[in-house]
Assembly symmetry: C2
Homo-oligomer: 294 residues x 2
DNA sequence: ATTGTTCATAGACGTGGTCTATAGCTCCTG
DNA sequence: CAGGAGCTATAGACCACGTCTATGAACAAT
């Protein structure tokens, strides 16, 4: 009774077509093989499954009972195989990405659009959060990949550097007097500074930089959205510390200008983060491939 | 993608136990075999199905989707195998018998009782009808076996002679004067004769016998039930032509007595009839075996 | 009769699934 | 930190078993 499940495939086709010869054709094997397989099944059960007629075969009572189960089973397997093929060529499946809202909006979005156009069958899930939150999501298996600011030092994670960003201080028309000037850090602090919320990686980086010059950076305003940072600077409420690439539009149309400093601000890097030693889902793999390609 | 379904069995156990080693134990094969099988599946799909951890394996997104189908499929197969085993040792299944009411009542019933006691899981279906009807039932596959009067001459059918019966004429107290007398056929016909309905095999046989002596047998009363034949004879409405074995009780307690004739009435044979060249269901096979045994 | 179906049987062949042996890895423990 | 005990992956050998070809037997149709 310890059957080879392969026999059920043969049984299924024999019952379905009502002919061992037809079953053989469907399975691309010869009729004696089918005959032999059916015999094996019958012997293993100690039951006769088919009536053999000169014009084919017909299920016996017992065979019909077996078929009622095996038919369902085979249909499930076929469906599963189709599903797998669909997952393979990304006709279905899902892609779950973690990252910050600003990175989604200013960096990932165009890739997502391309990706969605190429693979409309793949459902997209975006989970926003801070860098440590995104790392948690990843480790919990709630996302396939995270897009965050480097550096990330975690042996469990594999990080691909994908983009270099340059943070800078920007101001609006209200501080037009500063346009073209080169400020020292001390001088800068005479103006109200607007920073992103405390637990962001960019905020930590700039705070450390000032610290290294012995200066304590204390913001006038603290917000949780990059859009607000930009908006507040434009309205003249202070000088915002933002990623230059994310305000390129405003810099171009002159609604914001960059404050020149007498020290170099360190560039920041964005990385695509995945679990090390864990295979990527094909949807995630294709997405990363697409990001590096463009 | 033309997969060996055997691989799904391995996949199922690997996913279920979360360990290739455990799956190997469940399947009574070695761990490298399991490893190899999973690899084959993954290669065939072009997808990774498991995360390999140092403490076992876990399904990937894609693997989990596959599992949702395969699990159902495997459960169906297991259920089917259990069902087959149950059918084999007659814990389930059905037995469909065709025959006349009188044969059921007087001949088959005791065997049915034994059978039901031995295999209470087998559902019994009794289909009553005349001999030609029973033959039709059999050929249409509505019954597994028929119990009818012989002779049956049909190349499609296989008939096992199972019982010899002796028909005879019986009367009740009203005709007590005939007790011990030996009657000629002519003399018999001076009394009202009660026969079974025209289309029965027993009726045809006795009509032919009279015909062979140049006598036309015309019954006074014609009924469709053996019980009625007996009852009418007991009430004195005439002389009934019945199967002696079916009135043994009445002959013993004296409510009926057999009319002696000066010619021998031919014995009739009961046969168990099945389709030739068609395998018996195990339930039917066991029943026939039981009938011959006792 | 002849031809064309069907399934069953016999025997040969060769692939592929299973095995053993071993390595690499991580985690735990003394 | 070394050693042991898990786990899975890999390599290579072997032989069972599933497939094949060839043929037979039974039946249906022409």
């Amino acid at each position: 009774m310890n059957n080879n499940y392969e026999l059920y495939k043969v049984f299924y086709w024999a019952a379905k077509t009502g002919s061992l010869t037809q079953a053989a054709k469907a399975l691309y094997i010869t009729q004696p093989s089918v005959s032999h397989a059916i015999k094996q099944l019958e012997d293993s059960f100690g039951l006769t499954l088919f009536y053999r007629n000169p014009k084919g075969v017909a299920l016996t009572q017992e065979g019909a009972i077996l078929y009622s189960y095996i038919e369902q089973s085979q249909i499930l397997i076929s469906t599963a195989e189709e599903k797998m093929a669909a997952l393979k060529n990304l006709d279905s499946g899902e892609l779950r990405i973690g990252g910050s809202d600003s990175l989604f909006k200013h960096y990932i979005l165009p890739y997502l659009e391309d990706y969605h156009r190429l693979y409309p069958g793949v459902r997209l899930h975006l989970n926003h959060g801070t860098t440590p939150e995104v790392i948690s999501f990843l480790k919990e298996g709630r996302i396939d990949l995270g897009v965050v600011r480097m550096p990330i030092v975690d042996p469990q994670l594999e990080v691909r550097e994908s983009l270099q960003l340059q943070d800078c201080f920007v101001a609006g028309a209200h501080y037009a007097e500063l346009r073209g000037m080169v400020l020292s850090l001390d001088k800068l602090l005479e103006y109200p500074v607007i920073l992103f919320s405390r637990n962001s990686r960019a905020r930590m980086a700039i705070t450390e930089l000032f610290q290294s010059y012995g200066i304590t950076l204390k913001p006038e305003i603290e917000v949780g959205s990059v859009d607000l940072l930009i908006e507040l600077a434009r309205k003249g409420l202070g000088i915002s510390y933002v990623t230059r690439e994310f305000v390129s539009k405003e810099l171009e149309n002159g609604s914001l200008f960059e404050i020149q400093l007498d020290v170099a601000l360190p560039p920041s890097h964005v990385g695509i983060m995945t679990m090390r030693n864990m295979p990527l889902s094909s949807s995630a793999g294709k997405f990363i491939e697409l990001m590096r390609l463009i």
